[in-house]
Every structure is written in structure tokens, then in C-alpha cells.
């Protein structure tokens, strides 16, 4: 490992994207979804990728997760090229992607079970995260019996239970109604404060981005690339109608409009 890499690791630089490109082959030719995308995470920061509709944010998350391969550039996790999914990078999906035939407990302890942990041990650890996301009493419920917000709580607990170094969240609240969405944003903030992790969070909702982020990367529309970076140092929990919040909101929305 080079000095340079060691220095970066000390800074908690877990994920490093360098000039990442992604293109899909279509009958009409090559379609560029991500172009020259750069990112470096800092330790335990809440990093938000904010961009319009279908601009390739999900593709970026999928590549960092290891579900898809880059077509140009490189993505490294702790200095190593990412080639496949790994328990060190937990993913929370917009669709929740829960295992519907497993109970809450079964979903949350799945990763530990696959790693060969003993039942008592994994249930104890899973219970900790079930409690953390506020699902006590629903351990034996199947996902079909849970509301949208509760399902996503299971999804968060499931990703957390493997104790990953990075959490990747792909519009986790995108499918929720507005009221539940606000509640879940508060909950996520509380969970993250309790169990600090490096989070890369994708959203197209500016309020959500400003409420949660330490740092926001504003992305351009297809092909996605970083247009501007904002460091948000407003005190938490944030007031959605404070003048600073509203000013930032106005500014970033303005940038977005000029992007479209």
C-alpha cells in the first residue's frame, strides 16, 4: 500500500470514485449514464447525492455496491478495486428488497446467518438493531403485514446488522407518502447519530438532502457528473424553515433548474 493510500485511509477514505463512467449498449448505440464521476468519502459523514429524476444516481450506487461494473474509471473501497457485492457495504433499496418469506428477525439476522454465526448470538445482535429502528414487537411479522415505513425500517436494520463500513441508500424513502417520509428522515437521523457510519444517500428531494447531509454532491442530468459540492454545517436536528435552510434550498434549487 502506498503512502498516499495510507494517508487516505487514515482520513477514513473508504470509497473513492475516480473518473467513473458507465455506458449501456442500446440498439440506438451507446448510452452514457455516468460520466467522469468523482467522489471521496470522509469518515462517518452523511454524503448525499442529489440530482434530478432518472439521472444515473442509482447506477452510481449500484456500481459502488458491486452490482454493476464500471465501463470507465475506477471505484475503490479501502484502496481495493470493487468487483462484487460485499458485506462491508450495506445497501438500503428503494424497493426495500426484503425477503418476503422471512420475518423481521429473519431478514435482519440473514447476513449473520450466512456468515455462520450461532442462532443465539445472531438473534441478540439482530434484536439490538430491531430495537434501534423501533420495531420491537414486530420481530415475528412477515413484511407483507408491515407498512411501507416499517418495511424500510427492516431494510435499514438488515443493512446495519452486518455492521458494514459504508451504508448505501438508494432513495430509501422515495416510495413513501409525505408524512411517513418526514418521520423516516427524523428516524434515520436518530439512528445514524446512534450508530455512526459513512452513508452515501441518493435522493431527488432537496429538503431531504438538506435535512440529512453533511455534504451534498449536486449531480447533472444524464450523463451524471458532479456539478457542485456543498458542505452543510447547520446544527442538527435541522429546522426546515430556518432562514439558512431556506437560503440553501433556494440556491441549490436554482442550480438544479439551470441544469435541466
Amino acid at each position: 500500500m502506498s503512502m498516499e493510500q495510507e494517508r487516505k485511509l487514515k482520513n477514513g477514505n473508504l470509497i473513492e470514485c475516480t473518473n467513473v463512467c458507465k455506458a449501456f449498449e442500446t440498439p440506438e448505440g451507446e448510452y452514457q449514464v455516468v460520466k467522469d464521476f468523482n467522489l471521496e468519502t470522509r469518515e462517518n459523514e452523511f454524503l448525499v447525492l442529489f440530482g434530478p429524476g432518472q439521472c444515473g444516481k442509482t447506477t452510481i450506487i449500484n456500481m459502488i455496491a458491486g452490482f454493476e461494473r464500471v465501463t470507465g474509471g475506477s471505484i475503490k473501497s479501502q484502496g481495493k478495486e470493487i468487483s462484487k457485492p460485499d458485506p462491508s457495504r450495506g445497501v438500503v433499496f428503494q424497493s426495500t428488497a426484503l425477503f418476503p418469506w422471512m420475518t423481521t428477525m429473519g431478514n435482519v439476522e440473514y447476513g449473520l446467518k450466512m456468515a455462520g454465526n450461532k442462532k443465539a448470538e445472531r438473534e441478540k445482535r439482530a434484536q439490538k438493531y430491531i430495537d434501534l429502528v423501533g420495531l420491537q414487537g414486530f420481530e415475528k411479522a412477515f413484511p407483507v403485514k408491515l407498512s411501507g415505513g416499517m418495511k424500510q425500517r427492516v431494510g435499514i436494520a438488515r443493512a446495519y446488522c452486518n455492521e458494514p463500513e459504508v451504508m448505501l441508500m438508494d432513495e430509501p424513502f422515495g416510495a413513501l407518502d409525505a408524512q411517513t417520509r418526514y418521520l423516516m428522515q427524523e428516524e434515520l437521523q436518530r439512528i445514524w447519530e446512534a450508530e455512526k457510519r459513512t452513508v452515501i444517500f441518493v435522493t431527488n428531494n432537496i429538503e431531504e438532502a438538506l435535512y440529512l447531509a453533511d455534504r451534498i454532491l449536486v449531480l447533472t442530468n444524464c450523463p451524471a457528473t458532479v456539478k457542485k459540492e456543498y458542505v452543510i454545517d447547520l446544527p442538527r436536528p435541522r429546522n426546515l424553515v430556518s432562514p439558512e435552510f431556506l437560503a440553501l434550498r433556494k440556491e441549490i434549487t436554482g442550480i438544479m433548474d439551470s441544469t435541466l
Binding site: 428488497a97 450466512m114 412477515f142 452486518n162
Partner: protein
């Protein structure tokens, strides 16, 4: 409030079933007792008497229950072996492209052949004993479960598979803990068809050649011109088929309870 409504729905269903079955039995009884239909077919009371007598006495060499038992054992052996093969092959074909490339062409040629078309070959291969019948039932359940298991494995949600990978599952774990359980509803759809197809096949096989079983009962009835024996055989075939379907549905309810939003 909602619960109350469900109960009354159920009551209505049961009442309607009783009315329609009762009306059918009454028409049957009335037709055979008071019209010339009585010359073609015995009435329900006589059939019921024959069935009851058959339970305690003998039809041919055995009581009706023993005949049912013979048919059931044949079905169960063939059905279980055929389904296990079908589920494994179907899931492999649905999940691994190479397995599909190798086996699917062959399977697609064999599948459309109805099991009873194999009767002559099965007799030449296995003789007139049990093995020929079990082989036919194996075929009947095998092709139906293969087809549905394959569809199930093909339709596994890719995002759910990604979730398992992200949590550290390896290839084998993904197959056993994700692909298999995700396919259970499809597998059961196949098993439902397979069990009724097996039941139909055992009767056909017994009608061709056997000395016991419900298929034998109705053919022997035909040979002796014994209308009551034929009809009691048919009644039992219906009853057993009905019970098998109920058992399958109950098993499905238990194994797929995660798939239902009710209760």
C-alpha cells in the same frame, strides 16, 4: 366489523354450496325414482348404500378403503419422486442458464406427451406390476412441477438477489435461501396440477391392467355390467380427488403464509 363481514361471507358460501349440492342430489333422486332415467342409472340412495356396504364388505377381493389405499400408494410414490425431480430440475433450469440450455430442449419435446401415451411403453419396460404405474405417475407429476418451478426460479426478484449478495450470501446460499423459497408459490401451483394429473393417470393405468384400486373397480363394474359398482367407484374417485386438492391447498396456506396479506 370487517371480521364480522368475513364470517357472513363464509356462511353465504357454505349455504350456497349446500343448496346447489342438495338440488343436484334431489334432481338425481327424483329423476331416477320417477322418470325413465331410473333405467339408465341407479339413484343416489342406492349408490350411497353400495359405497357404505363397500366400506365394510368387499368389492372384488377388498373393501373400498383398501382399493383407495392401493391407488393412493401408487400416486404418492410416483408423485413424491416425480415432484422432487421436477422441483430440482425446474429450479436449476430456471436459475442457471447452462442447465436450461442443456435440459430445456429435451424437456420441451417430452412435456407435451400426455402420461397415458406412455402406458404401452411402460408395460413393455416394467411389465404389468406396480413399477409401470408408478413410472406413469412419475411422468405426470414430473413435467408439471418442472415447468412451474422453472417459471418460479426465473421470476425471482433480481433486487432481492442483490440484497442477499450484499449481505454476504454465496452462490449456493442464494440458491437454497433465496431462489428456492421465492419459487415456493409457483412450485405449489405446479404441485396442484401434478397431483390431479397423477390421480387421473393412476386411474387410467389401473383401468388398463390391475386387480385392485379404484380404476380396477370401475372397469370391473363395466365388465360385470354392475352400474352400482361403477358409480360408487366414481363417487370415491371424486371424493379422494377433492380431499387431495384440499390437503394441497392447506399445505400451501401454511408454507406460503408470508405471501398472503389477509388474516
Amino acid at each position: 366489523m370487517i371480521k364480522k363481514k368475513n364470517i357472513s361471507d363464509k356462511t353465504i358460501n357454505v349455504a350456497c354450496a349446500c343448496i346447489s349440492i342438495g338440488a343436484f342430489l334431489f334432481l338425481w333422486y327424483w329423476g331416477t325414482a320417477f322418470t325413465k332415467l331410473g333405467m339408465l342409472i341407479p339413484g343416489p340412495v342406492e349408490v350411497l348404500e353400495t359405497v357404505t356396504a363397500g366400506f365394510f364388505g368387499k368389492v372384488g377381493r377388498h373393501s373400498i378403503l383398501v382399493h383407495v389405499g392401493y391407488s393412493m400408494i401408487r400416486v404418492m410414490i410416483g408423485f413424491i419422486v416425480g415432484s422432487v425431480f421436477g422441483i430440482v430440475l425446474g429450479l436449476l433450469m430456471g436459475w442457471y442458464r447452462i442447465a436450461e440450455a442443456i435440459f430445456n430442449p429435451l424437456f420441451r419435446i417430452i412435456r407435451p406427451i400426455p402420461p397415458i401415451a406412455w402406458i404401452p411403453i411402460s408395460i413393455i419396460w416394467f411389465g404389468l406390476g406396480e413399477n409401470a404405474k408408478i413410472f406413469l405417475i412419475f411422468l405426470a407429476s414430473f413435467s408439471n412441477t418442472t415447468l412451474n418451478s422453472m417459471a418460479g426460479a426465473k421470476n425471482v426478484d433480481r433486487e432481492v438477489v442483490n440484497a442477499a449478495k450484499m449481505l454476504g450470501a454465496n452462490e449456493r446460499q442464494i440458491f437454497t435461501t433465496i431462489v428456492l423459497p421465492a419459487s415456493v408459490p409457483s412450485i405449489f401451483a405446479g404441485l396442484q396440477v401434478a397431483i390431479s394429473s397423477s390421480w387421473a393417470t393412476v386411474l387410467a393405468a389401473e383401468m388398463v391392467r390391475s386387480s385392485e384400486g379404484l380404476g380396477w373397480m370401475i372397469v370391473a363394474g363395466m365388465n360385470n355390467n354392475d352400474m352400482l359398482q361403477i358409480l360408487s367407484g366414481i363417487v370415491m374417485i371424486g371424493v379422494v380427488g377433492f380431499i387431495l386438492a384440499i390437503i394441497m391447498r392447506k399445505a400451501e396456506d401454511i408454507l406460503c403464509r408470508w405471501n398472503k396479506s389477509g388474516n
